[in-house]
Subunit: 209 residues, 2 copies
């Protein structure tokens, strides 16, 4: 009975391969065990079960995702603050979309659906918070109020802006991945126009605030 030489890290790595081919929802212990050349129950020596494995995979994906964003965000920008913010947010948005299109399964793992309401996922929450912080940092040159006061007519705050960026990019990517864009019109170009629109909106709303 030769040993397969598994470990928690190795199992998670194999699980990532499954996620890449079958999607995050298609992650199954049976598929991982098959790749490892091992019987399914053997995996329980390394992970606590399917929920635990899903959490571990999500954590790795969030960290990888954040690392990608950070790489893009640390590029030095020149020019006036508004221009720097526009360049940064555009670069970040492109990085998010590129990640999602390259690794749809991992992108799905990054999204909270699976773990947001999971009490044992505080580590993932913290890691996800770091990725949001990267976006917030990119928007800093716009000089928005960090957060806004009460009232329905309060001006755009940084929290609002970060949420808008995340929503637009995430929504676009999800619709694209889910085949939600029926028309053959160039999706690439639509994405750039959406970013144009968002950036113009930032400047317009800040001006009138």
């Amino acid at each position: 009975m030769p040993r397969a030489g598994l470990s928690r890290a190795a199992v998670v790595t194999l699980a990532l391969e499954v996620v890449d081919t079958e999607g995050f929802a298609g992650l199954t212990l049976a598929a991982v065990a098959a790749r490892a050349g091992v019987a399914v129950p053997s995996l329980y020596k390394h992970v606590g079960g399917l929920p635990d494995l899903r959490r571990a995979v999500a954590l790795r994906c969030v960290e990888e995702f954040t690392a990608q964003l950070r790489t893009v965000a640390t590029t030095e920008r020149t020019g006036p603050p508004d221009e720097r913010a526009a360049q940064s947010v555009r670069a970040l948005a492109r990085a998010v979309r590129a990640f999602a299109l390259a690794h749809p399964g991992r992108y799905a793992a990054v999204q909270g659906g699976a773990w947001a309401h999971d009490p044992g996922a505080s580590e993932i929450h913290e890691a996800a918070g770091r990725s949001v912080a990267v976006i917030a940092k990119a928007l800093e040159p716009l000089g928005l109020a960090p957060r806004s006061g009460a009232g329905a007519t309060a001006p755009l705050s940084e929290v609002d802006a970060v949420r808008t960026v995340r929503a637009l990019v995430h929504g676009f990517v999800m619709l694209e991945l889910d085949g939600g864009f029926g028309l053959p019109d160039d999706v690439e170009r639509s994405f750039e126009r959406a970013l144009d629109l968002m950036i113009a909106g930032f400047l317009a709303l800040r001006a009138e605030g």
Copy 2:
């Protein structure tokens, strides 16, 4: 052996109840059978199996969703065209979010993930197309070009605008439902600011195009 008096429509209705409590991913024949007071295999007399049931549920949800949008969209607007478009798109966006928050499972069913790449779902595709058409109609007063020519710098087209609206609203709602907004800041208000921003962006991009 008394009869339960089921039918395809009745089964789908029970399935919708399951979707409302367990989510679209939690839809299971076992749960539907339990609600119907019937053994699981009996359901096969009325639906073709779980994939078929999922399609039927999705179709109903898409139609219900579209009906909601239409109700909102047919309200008569007054004022200049830009103002009418702004009011319409804002009302539609609010309707989408309200639907999603009221029936998260049904909203998930509306999204293409489950059926977009399913060959037997052409009926759903057509129904979904009708909901997109409602949004396109609302944006009409803006007077955008129906679609745009080639080239990375082409101006904003109606196709781009519809995609932007869908992406922003869908992304916002998904993040909200998935618990993606960690901060306690008022989500309601952020949504309104995002709509402000989008509408301002439409006007800005059309002006310069």
